[in-house]
C-alpha cells in the first residue's frame, strides 16, 4: 500500500503492432490483428528475406529443443515465447519426454491469455506474464517455482527476444541473472538479429529496423562478438558457436535451405 497507485492498466493496444503477434503472422499463424499484418507486410517489403529469417529462427528453436532433450534436459523456461501456435516448445519437448516441463513467459497479456487457452489441460506446460528485463520477478514467480525444479537442469530460451532489449536495459546483466539461477547442466538458448552480410542487405535491414522504432519494441542488431559478450562468463557457448540459424546443427533435410545470416543463434551451457 505504501507505493503510489498506478491505475493505468497494463497495455493491450490492438492499434499498435505487437512483436509476438507480428512474429505469429510472419510464421503463417492466424493469431494476429490487422495492424500486425500491415506491419509485417511493410517489413517484408523493406527487407524481402524477413519471412525466411523468421522461419529459420523458428526452425532453430525446434532443433535446439530436440538437441537439449537428447541431452536430458526436461525443463524449459521460454521467455518471450509469443503466441505458441506453430512448433511449440512443449510439443517438441514433450514428444521427446512426455513429462518435460515448460513455462512460457511473455510480456503481451493477449499472448499470455492465448497461450493459457492453448495449454489448458496440459499439466506440464504453463504460461505467465513477465518481462525479460525483470528476470528476478520471473525466477521468483510462484508458477515458475511450482513447475520448474531449479536444482535440476533447466534450459532458458530467449529466442528472438534479446534484440528487443537495448543496451541501456543491461542484456548482459539479465543473462547473468538467469544463469545464476540455473543448476549445472542448465542451458541458455538464444537467437538474435544480426547484421546482413551485404551492404545492400544491411541497407534494407536498416529500413526494416526503422519500422520497428515506431513500435513499442524497437530492435537492436548485434554482431556475434556483441552477442558473445551478452552471453558472458556464466555460460560456455557450445559448438558451432554464434552462427546463422540455418547453420546450427541443421537437419540434413534442411541443408539446402538458403542461409540466413541475420538470424544469429547460440546455445550455451552453464559453467
Amino acid at each position: 500500500m505504501a507505493d503510489s497507485y498506478d491505475w493505468v492498466p497494463e497495455g493491450v493496444d490492438v492499434t499498435v503492432p505487437d512483436a509476438s503477434r507480428v512474429y505469429d503472422y510472419a510464421l503463417g499463424g492466424l493469431h494476429n490483428f490487422e495492424v500486425d499484418r500491415d506491419f509485417w507486410n511493410r517489413t517484408e517489403a523493406a527487407f524481402p528475406g524477413a519471412g525466411l529469417v523468421a522461419r529459420a529462427n523458428r526452425a532453430f528453436l525446434g532443433r535446439a529443443v530436440r538437441w537439449l532433450s537428447a541431452r536430458g534436459v526436461r525443463q524449459f523456461l521460454d521467455i518471450g515465447s509469443g503466441i505458441p501456435t506453430l512448433g511449440n516448445v512443449h510439443e517438441v519437448a514433450q514428444e521427446a519426454n512426455p513429462d518435460a516441463r515448460v513455462v512460457y513467459v511473455d510480456i503481451d497479456p493477449i499472448a499470455v491469455e492465448q497461450s493459457r487457452s492453448l495449454l489448458a489441460g496440459n499439466p506440464y506446460a504453463r504460461v505467465i506474464q513477465g518481462d525479460l528485463r525483470d528476470p528476478e520477478r520471473i525466477l521468483t514467480h510462484p508458477e515458475v517455482l511450482d513447475l520448474l525444479d531449479f536444482s535440476r537442469p533447466v534450459a532458458v530460451l530467449t529466442v528472438a527476444v534479446l534484440h528487443f532489449v537495448p543496451d541501456s536495459a543491461g542484456p548482459g546483466a539479465i543473462v547473468d541473472r538467469l544463469g545464476k539461477a540455473l543448476a549445472p547442466g542448465g542451458y541458455l538458448v538464444l537467437s538474435h538479429l544480426g547484421p546482413d552480410d551485404s551492404p545492400a542487405g544491411r541497407a534494407a535491414q536498416e529500413t526494416a529496423r526503422k519500422l520497428y522504432e515506431r513500435t513499442p519494441t524497437p530492435v537492436v542488431i548485434r554482431d556475434p562478438d556483441e552477442i558473445t559478450e551478452i552471453v558472458g562468463d556464466g555460460f560456455e557457448i557450445v559448438e558451432p558457436g554464434v552462427v546463422a540459424a540455418t547453420g546450427w546443427h541443421p537437419d540434413p533435410d534442411e541443408a539446402g535451405d538458403p542461409p540466413q545470416p541475420t538470424a544469429l543463434v547460440a546455445v550455451a551451457r552453464k559453467r
Binding site: L27, G28, G29, L30, H31, F33, R55, E91, I110, D251
Partner: protein, 570 residues
C-alpha cells in the same frame, strides 16, 4: 508407376510446401505425411467407382498438418495437375485419369480453403476471447485495487472506517449469544497542530509513525486496528471480558505512543485520549459501536480525562439534552418561553418591592414545564440564549409596566447571560425594549452572574448603567471572589447565593463574619444586598441580623405566573 517417381514427386511437393510457409517439426515427418497424402490421392484416382471426396479430405489434412500457407494450395495443384496424369496412365485412357486428377484437385482446394477458413475464424474467435478475458482480468484487478483503496486509509494503509464497519458487521453476524466486544477509539492529540506548524508532509509522517507503533500494539494484543481518518484510530478487542480489558488496550496504545516522534529535526510528543465501549455483540449495529465510542471520547475530552467508558444512562441524558436543544428554536418562536416571577421582599417590613423574572418553558402536549436550570445552560451552549434572553426581557418589562399602571411600582429583575453581555448592541437593545414597553429604566434591574465575563465586559456594563437601570451581581459567593469588582463596576445590587446563606445554618462563625463584612462594604458603596434562597425563618433572621436589605426564597414565595403575583400584591 514407380515408387521412385512418387518419392520424387513428394520431394518436389515438400520443397514447394516449405517454401510457401513455415512447417513445424522435422522435415522427415513432413515428408512422410505428404507421402501418405499422395498415396491416398493416387488410390482415389484409381478407385472404382470414382469418388472425388478423398480430394476434400486431403485438402483438410494439409491444413491440419499446419501446411496451411495460402501458397500451399497453388503449389499442390500446379504440381499434381502437371505430373500426375502422365504418371498414372498417360494418354492411354482417353483423358479419364486427367479428368479424375482435376476433379480430385478441385475438391482438394475446396477442402483446403474450407479448413483454412475454419482455422482463421477459430483463431479470430480465440483472439477475441483472449482479449475479453484479458480485459475482464484487468477490470477485476482494478476493482480489487479500488476495493482495497476504498477500505484503507491512504496515509497509513490501515483499514479505514468502512473496513471497520464491515469487520464489525461480520463479527455481529457471526456472534453467538453471550459474545462480547470492546471498541477503543483513540484520538491522537497534536497531529493537527504539527500539520499546521510543519506542513502536511510532516503531519503525514507523524501519522505513519503513530500507525506503525499502533500496529505493533494491535498485533501483540491480537486486536483489529483501523484508522478512521485524521487523528482517530480504533482498536477492536474481541471477546473482551469487560471495560477494563478495553481500557487496558487504550493504556498499551498510550504507552506505545509516549516516546516522542522525531519529525523534521524535532522531537514531537503526542497525547492520547480514548473513548471506550464494551458490551454484548449480538443484535448490535456497527455504527452504534462507533457512535458510542465517539460519545465516550467526547466525555473524556469534556472531563479532561485520559479515557472515558461509555455509559448508557449518561448517553441517554446527553441525547435528551440534544433533543431539547433541537426543540428550543421552534419553542421560542411559538412563545413557549415565559417568565415567572419570584417576589423580592424588604426584610424590614416584608413588603414586596420587586420581582425576579425567571424563565420557564411551558411545553405543549401535556409535557411538564421546565425550570431554567434545565435549559438555560443548553441555550447558552447553542447560542439561543441571545434571542431567548431578549424575549424574556421584553416580556418582563411589559409585565412590569402593566403592574406599574395598576399602581404597583415594582423593581423588575431580569437575568442576563454572559453571552448577552458580549453583544455590542446590548445597551441599545435594552433601551429600545424599555422605550417600547414603557418601563422606566430605574425600575429594571439586570442580574449578571459573578464570573470572568463581568470584568471582561466592563464597558458594556457602563453603557447599561448609563441608561439609568440597576445592575446586580448574582449568585455572590459561588464563583469568583470579586469584591474588588464591586468597586470598579457600576453595580447597585448584590445577591448573596443561597448556598452561602445555607452555610450560616451550620453556625460557622467564618461564614457569618465574611457575610457581615461584605454587607458592610456594600452598604458603604451604596449597594443593596439581597439574600437568595431563604427557606426558613431562622435563616431570614440571620441574614436580617447581618444587615441584608432584601430577601427572596421559598419562605416567602415560589416563582409564579404574573396573575398570582398580582393577587399577592392585593
Amino acid at each position: 508407376m514407380s515408387d521412385e517417381a512418387l518419392s520424387e514427386l513428394v520431394e518436389h511437393w515438400l520443397r514447394g510446401v516449405v517454401e510457401a510457409g513455415f512447417v513445424p517439426g522435422v522435415r522427415a515427418r513432413a515428408r512422410a505425411a505428404l507421402r501418405d497424402l499422395l498415396d491416398e490421392l493416387v488410390a482415389a484416382v484409381r478407385a472404382e467407382p470414382f469418388d472425388s471426396a478423398p480430394g476434400y479430405r486431403i485438402g483438410v489434412e494439409l491444413v491440419d498438418l499446419r501446411m496451411a500457407a495460402p501458397a500451399v494450395a497453388g503449389v499442390t495443384v500446379r504440381l499434381f495437375a502437371g505430373a500426375l496424369p502422365a504418371l498414372l496412365g498417360g494418354s492411354s485412357d482417353g483423358g479419364e485419369v486427367r479428368e479424375r486428377v482435376l476433379l480430385l484437385l478441385d475438391r482438394l482446394v475446396t477442402g483446403f480453403t474450407t479448413a483454412q477458413r475454419a482455422a482463421a475464424v477459430g483463431a479470430a474467435e480465440q483472439m477475441n476471447r483472449s482479449e475479453k478475458i484479458h480485459w475482464r482480468r484487468v477490470q477485476t484487478d482494478l476493482q480489487q485495487r479500488l476495493q482495497e483503496a476504498l477500505l484503507h486509509e491512504v496515509r497509513t494503509g490501515l483499514p479505514n472506517r468502512q473496513f471497520l464497519c464491515k469487520n464489525l458487521g461480520e463479527r455481529i453476524a457471526a456472534a453467538a449469544p453471550g459474545d462480547r466486544l470492546g471498541v477503543c477509539l483513540l484520538s491522537v492529540d497534536g497531529v493537527a497542530e504539527l500539520t499546521d506548524a510543519l506542513g502536511h508532509d510532516n503531519g503525514d509522517r507523524l501519522l505513519a509513525g503513530v500507525a506503525w507503533r499502533l500496529r505493533q500494539v494491535a498485533t501483540a494484543g491480537g486486536w483489529f486496528l483501523a484508522h478512521l481518518g485524521d487523528d482517530e484510530f480504533a482498536l477492536v478487542v474481541a471477546g473482551a471480558g469487560g471495560p477494563d480489558e478495553v481500557v487496558k488496550a487504550a493504556a498499551s496504545a498510550r504507552v506505545a505512543l509516549s516516546p516522542p516522534f522525531p519529525i523534521d529535526g524535532y522531537s514531537f510528543s503526542v497525547g492520547v485520549t480514548a473513548g471506550v465501549v464494551d458490551g454484548p455483540l449480538a443484535g448490535t449495529h456497527p455504527e452504534g459501536w462507533l457512535r458510542d465510542a465517539h460519545l465516550a471520547l467526547a466525555w473524556a475530552r469534556q472531563d479532561r480525562r485520559e479515557h472515558a467508558v461509555f455509559e448508557a444512562v449518561r448517553a441517554e441524558a446527553d441525547r435528551s439534552r440534544h433533543r431539547l436543544a433541537a426543540a428550543m428554536p421552534a419553542a421560542l418562536a411559538k412563545g413557549e418561553f415565559v417568565p415567572h416571577y419570584q417576589p423580592l421582599y424588604r426584610l424590614r417590613d416584608h413588603a414586596i418591592v420587586g420581582v425576579e423574572a425567571l424563565a420557564r418553558w411551558q411545553r405543549p402536549d401535556g409535557l411538564p414545564a421546565l425550570a431554567p436550570q434545565q435549559f438555560i445552560s443548553l441555550a447558552e451552549r447553542t447560542g439561543l440564549i441571545r434571542p431567548l434572553g431578549r424575549s424574556l426581557l421584553e416580556q418582563a418589562c411589559r409585565q412590569g409596566a402593566a403592574w406599574r399602571k395598576d399602581g404597583h411600582d415594582l423593581l423588575v429583575s431580569v437575568n442576563l447571560s454572559p453571552l448577552q453581555l458580549g453583544e455590542p448592541g446590548l445597551a441599545a437593545e435594552v433601551a429600545d425594549i424599555l422605550h417600547r414597553t414603557g418601563l422606566p429604566a430605574h425600575r429594571l434591574q439586570l442580574e449578571i452572574t459573578e464570573s470572568a465575563a463581568v470584568d471582561e465586559h466592563r464597558d458594556r456594563l457602563r453603557e447599561l448603567a448609563a441608561l439609568g437601570l440597576r445592575l446586580a451581581v448574582d449568585d455572590f459567593g459561588t464563583g469568583y471572589a470579586s469584591l474588588a469588582v464591586l468597586s470598579r463596576l457600576p453595580v447597585t445590587g448584590l445577591k448573596v447565593a443561597g448556598e452561602l446563606v445555607a452555610d450560616l445554618d451550620t453556625a460557622s462563625p467564618a461564614a457569618s463574619a465574611i457575610l457581615r463584612h461584605t454587607i458592610e462594604l456594600c452598604h458603604d458603596l451604596g449597594i443593596e444586598v439581597t439574600a437568595e434562597g431563604l427557606e426558613t425563618s431562622s435563616r431570614e433572621r440571620l441574614v436580617s441580623d447581618l444587615g441584608c436589605d432584601l430577601g427572596q426564597g421559598y419562605l416567602f414565595a415560589r416563582p409564579a405566573p404574573p396573575s398570582e403575583i398580582t393577587a399577592r400584591l392585593g
